[in-house]
């Protein structure tokens, strides 16, 4: 049996076929299309042709996609939503969607309601033990008569206690029908109400986009006679089933860089390393800890909206194969602007008149590119000192970015992938070794294909009268249960992250615990 991994990027849609041992059988690249779906069909058609694998032998398909990100950034194909904040008698100082700009409000709507409920950090109710059914039903009746097609529900401290959000969801099904999409925030974001509410609202606005992709993928698989389980890659390097992705499309955001990191790690066989993906314009550097990309701790902004998403910690610098090199008074600069995909026309070595990073490396004679237009003689007019300085600047900038993302001062292996990886022909300071794996071009699609199933929690726990070990055990168990519920094989599930965060200024016994478990897919 085989599996297919597909990655839809900004420029290319890549696909790989893997066998059960995760060996790459075939890899293809095709152009990403505006509607995205037809790009996926083309990639599928090509990979089946190249690999010669019988469609019947494909049992799993994993998709990493930028559909959701693009819909938000372009403010297109979004669904009209309403936000419900369960917070009264607190929580009204800043209303939902307060920070959204007019274009996003126009595309997704700006209807919101406040409802009594939610709890304190220790679970004590803010209003009552339960929601007031009539209060909720009245709001839902108004929604029924409006053009709102999707709901986002956020309760105060729902990461501690999600019952208020779930109760509201149930009442919404009573009034609007079971088919009505209702996003509840505790299933998406962590602590920080405004950011979590934003994530839930964006998710609610994406339900139709998610349905279109899922339906499109299902139909094309059907067309090619592939009867496989379909998974979507998440931003944290794990998978979710298609049914879950339809409900939580926002979780696919950021899966691109994550897949690239994990794919590169798989190719190198390492669990702890730094991944350096050098493209045409930028270099993206991420870090793999215990097999998973480390997450960013700062709030992530998507299309101008602050969210509290789990996203990989990526350092991006303006260094790539097409970076423009300038010299002036003995001062040499590289990037951040780039000739991009025009490198084969604009770069001097290719017959153009722009000095690029690639030109400088070619001139050193340390790297070699097979291309009919290349003529190294054109580079002879460039002063040697400029070439030397450019090459050392490139290495120094990449080294500095690598150092920035490290978790400790020790040396770590660095895996180089991407079309621009020729820019670093030698050693990297702070790297115990530099690895340049095969199949580096399909790292993203491979990353999607090998993603794991996970479960995570981020909650406040009371330490009153309980030992620290007990609390940590409880948190770990909740994370593992969540992973297993998500489709992970129970015996392979392990805790991959556990963090205890203190809270300043409170003299009580609360701690915040973040835990994440992941395991192999239960096939």
């Amino acid at each position: 049996m085989y599996k297919i991994g597909i990655d839809v990027g900004g420029t290319n849609t890549d696909a790989v076929v893997l066998d059960k041992q995760n060996h790459v059988i075939a890899e293809v690249k095709s152009s990403t299309t505006e509607d995205v779906e037809s790009g996926i069909y083309q990639a599928l058609e090509k990979i089946l042709e190249v690999s010669q694998v019988d469609p019947k032998d494909i049992d799993t398909v994993m998709l990493g996609t930028t559909h959701a990100t693009n819909a938000i950034i372009e403010r297109s194909r979004l669904t009209k939503i309403a936000c419900v904040r369960i917070c009264l008698p607190a929580g009204t100082a800043v209303e939902p969607m307060f920070t959204w700009d007019e274009s996003l409000k126009k595309a997704a709507g700006d209807t919101y309601y406040f409802v009594h409920g939610g709890c304190e950090t220790d679970g004590r109710p803010l209003a009552g033990e339960h929601l007031d059914y009539q209060e909720c039903a009245d709001i839902l009746s108004k929604i029924k008569e409006s053009d709102v097609q999707s709901l986002a529900v956020t309760a105060v401290f729902s990461p501690v206690l999600d019952t208020y959000e779930k109760e509201f969801q149930k009442i919404a099904y009573d009034v609007l029908g079971e088919e009505f999409p209702v996003t509840i925030s505790s299933e998406i974001g962590s602590m920080g109400l405004l950011e979590r509410e934003n994530s839930a609202a964006l998710n609610a606005a994406l339900v139709n986009v998610a349905k279109a992709v899922s339906d499109g993928l299902e139909q094309s698989l059907l067309k090619y006679g592939i009867n496989a389980r379909i998974y979507f890659a998440q931003n944290d390097g794990t998978l979710m089933e298609m049914e879950h992705a339809k409900k939580y499309p926002i979780l696919t955001i950021g899966s691109g860089p994550t897949n690239s990191i994990r794919g590169a790690a798989e190719l190198s066989g390492l669990k702890d390393c730094i991944i350096c993906d050098i493209g045409g314009t930028t270099t993206d550097i991420g870090i793999l800890v215990n097999g998973f990309p480390r997450e960013s701790s700062v709030a992530v902004t998507i299309g101008g909206v602050k969210t509290n998403f789990r996203m990989p910690d990526i350092v991006s610098i303006g260094i790539g194969g097409g970076s423009i090199v300038r010299f002036d008074d003995g001062n040499v600069t590289v990037g951040p602007d780039s000739v991009g995909y025009r490198i084969t026309e604009d770069a001097i070595a290719f017959g153009g008149d722009v000095l690029t990073a690639t030109d400088c490396l070619l001139a050193t004679g340390r790297v070699h590119i097979e291309h009919p237009n290349i003529n190294l003689d054109r580079l002879k007019t460039i002063p040697q000192s400029v070439l030397d300085q450019a090459v050392s600047t490139i290495t120094a900038q990449v080294e500095m970015a690598i150092d920035k993302i490290k978790t400790s001062a020790g040396s770590v292996p660095v895996v180089l992938v991407g079309g621009g990886s020729i820019l670093i022909p030698g050693d990297i300071e702070g790297a115990s070794e530099v690895i340049r794996p095969k199949h580096a071009g399909c790292a993203n699609a491979l990353g999607a294909a090998i993603a794991q199933v996970s479960g995570d929690i981020d909650k406040m726990y009371s330490m009153a009268g309980v030992s620290r070990e007990k609390v940590l055990q409880q948190a770990s168990k909740e994370a593992k249960d969540k992973a297993i519920a998500g489709g992970a094989l129970a015996e392979t599930v392990e805790i991959i992250d556990l963090e205890v965060l203190p809270m300043a200024y409170v003299t009580s016994e609360f701690v915040r615990i973040k835990a994440k478990a992941a395991g192999k897919m239960n096939i």
Binding site: A93, E120, L193, A504, V506
Partner: protein, 372 residues
Amino acid sequence: MSRWITEEDIENLAVGAALLGTGGGGDPYLGKLMVQKCIRENGPIELIDPNQLSDQDTVIPVSMMGAPTIMTEKIPNGDESLKSLRLMEKQSGVKANATMPVECGGLNSTIPFVVASKAGIPVVDADGMGRAFPELQMETFHIHGVSASPTALHDERGNAVFLEAQDSPMIEHIARGVAVRMGGVAHAAMYKMTGKEVKDTSIHNTMSLCIDLGKAIRETQITKQNPIEVIKHVTKNSIYGEAIVLFEGKVTDVERKSTDGFVRGKATVSGLKSFIGKTLQVDFQNENLCAQIDGKVVAMVPDLITFLDSETGLPITTEGMKYGFRVICIGIPTPPIMRSDKAIEVWGPRYFGYDMDYVEIEKIHDKEESHV
């Protein structure tokens, strides 16, 4: 000489307050949004110089106390501090002519603007810490004889406490407990003063300094000026002394632990450029307390010790410090009112458990210079 505060000013205030907040004071994001909403609804907010007050005026400062992290989840209604101010007025039989902040730092610099907007009164351009400190008796008001008693506290549900105690430290002790019972955060009105007391006991013009600092730092992102030079220039022309670059380097370790309701720990930075081969260590208790280079103290409370991102000059909070950050650590000499014998007793190095006397940052620095 009133200054009318706009949404843009509040963006700047948030940055400047984080700088004077010396790593503490919580995330100013929510506070900023709350004021911006008020300005959208009620128009710009009046900021007055302390000298614009008449001696007989009544000023009631407002603030939040407790865990800023809880407030980012249980958002307030925005009128809690106003209710505390009203309760103070009712119980004391006075009417507030103005309100003001008790400290410079994330949330507490912005809350008085919310109250001012809703009550239609001005904010006094001053505060009682000149920075952020962890406890509420650490105020120039307290040091110069104004009591934190009585204090009015409200939660979001309308529960209220009017607290009278023997002295300011006892108010801190009891109010801290009330804040826990109110769900981790209480919205307070305290240190009710006359106009004369504000003029005599507060640190003047700190809010406009925050705005000016924030504006200057944010503008360098467009003008590409050196943010450090800009900070030096603004501080030199204020009641504070000119900012001193203590260190430049890369964060190599951040150690944090929670004890007695505070986050204590230390940050270690390895030197770069002219500091290569040297190591900086900064101890903190919510706020940065003491900076040492290779074991030698270079700055201590109450002088300001703040980390800035070395590229943008934007201040970094204690919570935001991470391995690998390129930082510049600056020190800012505090004004004389924060360095009196009584003040050093309340917030000097000995109060925080250091076995050393307070030495002014500029004296330490001058000595260093003369050695070189």
